[in-house]
Amino acid sequence: MTELNIAQALNRALDTALDSDERVLLLGEDIGRTGGVFRITDGLHEKYGPDRVYDTPVAESGIVGAAFGLAIAGMRPVAELQFMGFSYPAYDQIINHVARIRNRSNHRFTAPLVIRIPFGGGIGAAEHHSESAEAIYAHIPGLKVVVASTPHDAKGLLLAAIEDPDPVVFLEPIRLYRAVKEDVPDIYYTTTIGEVRVEREGEDITLISWGAMMKETRAAATMIEQEGGSVEVLDLHTLSPLDADGIVESVSKTGRAIVIHEAPRTGGLGGEVAAIIQERCLFSLLGPVHRITGPDTIFPLKRSEGHYLPSVEQIVKTAMRALEE
């Protein structure tokens, strides 16, 4: 066990993968010599050499397209796109090819690759650097979309993504990279893709979130409990495929649910989660399913970030109201 933050845990996961499987290779912009814009690949270029850890030209479509070819021919590439806003030039590759080759070839060719994308705001970054477009990826058949919010899960989930026989979009909450620390096993281990992570058990209300908003969700859960509410916290951590059973099981027990996400409200995954709940456990509900989300605006620049991001207070207030329902 070593105490690590998420950034370090991801680094250890990549180190472990490179060490245990010679098919694994990393490619992306500035991931070699500088260790990536967030230093997630720090030291790996030195340790494994330029034939395992590649600095690439500035071309996101090219990075994903090349990784796709590498994967079909038997490698296990892990591509890094620097920010979610920079993943859009790679859409065509991701949606038209990566997600489809298994279907197009009826299983004859497959693309077991991982596309790592730092996402979300809250660090006062420039335009395009704060996107939360996870719903767009989760909407695409053929992809798996995961996001970790703890160091332990970050390592296990990334190793699971690399092992997975299908393409995985691996989202990394920028705001949490260095915000949480915990003991992480030094050994190789994986986290199951496709199951919600019950982070805290409770009886009265279920808070459902993922990624960076888990931070506010945790803080809110603690405050609600101080007010006497018993809170269950679900970290979805697999956005596709969604673990409907896990969500339904929890909400059937508590009868109340709030979905919290940073992404814009309309078409956000909060709507999908709410729909699953009303379809499958409507009669367990004591009140409506609430959504606390970013507004349908462009993520603002530094000085207005506070206007955008859902707050702990908002979650607590909504929960306290819901507990009266």
């Binding site: 030209p57 479509s61 090219g62 397209g65 090349a66 490698m75 065509d92 090819h97 058949p141 299908d166």
Partner: protein, 338 residues
């Protein structure tokens, strides 16, 4: 422009192929043309979805594939059936794909030819990744990607060419410049004098070749393949040819090009000049041609029957093809529980 066989069948240089090899390639072109014409006919009968004819481009496609080894990678387009077939992809699968059956995208094990890319340009970079993997594995396999003149305007052409050169991958960029991207003529597509000259900007060799001259195509692609296998990196070949038919069966070329252009290109037909070469050498007979035609027809008819005999895919197959293992949401949707 590099050429070896003139439209009149005369040979400008020593051919790199034996007469026997030339006969085999001619028979292959004949078989490809038979497939193409059969497909057009089937489309008119409503037995195929939209079809993109390659008539006129047989030398480019058969020639490029003939320069490869059976396990080499190929990433081509919806107009590359002849190339794909010569590289090992069965006619049956090509027909099945066009009848609207995903099983057509599943060539047998050992055939490293990807199902055709329908979007334009995105697949060129795949041949960079495929070749890159082979280089890392220490194999001598190469990857050839085929695309049209229109695809060179896509940003992905730039990314693919650049990546291939930067990482020195054993990739062959094979452009069939057939004059038109649907209706848009080559001279408007780019102000570059040739497509092959674009290679220079990426630091790789480029060669323009008469795409209707199969011997020249085989020779030029072989040089590129050899270079790639030796570890000397990628090349760009521009095969200058002409799409005799429309873009697809849903297009009317009379709206954007002169019929007389087609007449000029008909004289430069890739099969015709090889037949003239055989005739000049006293190596051609009507019987042999009829025999090859009959063989081609038989093979294509056989492939069509087999493809059309495939049962309609079961509903669960659509779900099963999405992941290695069906996911819970898909299982529920398959079971009608949504």
């Amino acid at each position: 422009m590099y050429s070896l066989i003139s439209p009149d069948g005369s040979v400008s240089d020593r051919l790199p192929l034996t007469l026997q090899q030339m006969k085999g390639l001619y028979a292959d072109m004949l078989e490809a043309r038979t497939y193409d014409r059969k497909s057009n006919a089937m489309q008119k009968q409503g037995r195929l979805a939209t079809y993109a004819s390659f008539e006129g481009q047989e030398a480019a496609q058969i020639g490029a594939a003939a320069a490869l080894e059976p396990s080499d990678w190929v990433a081509g387009t919806y107009r590359d059936a002849a190339l794909m077939w010569r590289a090992g992809y069965p006619w049956k699968h090509l027909v099945a794909g066009r009848t609207g059956d995903e099983r057509g995208g599943q060539p047998p094990q050992g055939v490293n030819v990807l199902p055709p890319s329908i979007t334009v340009g995105g697949h060129m970079i795949h041949a960079v990744g495929l070749a890159w993997a082979e280089k890392l594995k220490g194999s001598s396999r190469v990857a050839l990607t085929s695309f049209g003149d229109g695809a060179t305007s896509e940003g992905d052409f730039h990314e693919a060419m650049n990546f291939a050169a930067v990482f020195s991958t054993p990739t062959i960029f094979f452009c069939q410049n057939n004059g038109f991207a649907i209706s848009y003529p080559r001279h408007e597509q780019t102000k570059s004098e040739s497509i092959s000259m674009k290679a220079d900007a990426y630091g790789m060799p480029g060669e323009q070749v008469d795409g209707n001259d199969i011997a020249a195509v085989v020779a030029a692609v072989s040089v590129a393949v050899e270079r790639a296998r030796k570890g000397d990196g990628p090349s760009l070949i521009e095969a200058v040819t002409y799409r005799m038919g429309p873009h697809t069966t849903s297009d009317d070329p009379a709206r954007y090009r002169e019929e007389s252009d087609g007449d000029m290109w008909r004289e430069r037909d890739p099969l015709l000049r090889v037949r003239k070469l055989f005739q000049n050498a006293g190596e051609w007979s009507e019987e042999w041609e009829a025999e090859m035609e009959a063989r081609a027809t038989e093979r294509i008819e056989q492939a069509v029957s087999e493809a059309e005999a495939l049962p309609v895919p079961r509903r669960e197959e659509m779900f099963d093809r999405m992941y290695a293992e069906i996911t819970d949401p898909l299982r529920r949707q398959l079971d009608g529980e949504m």
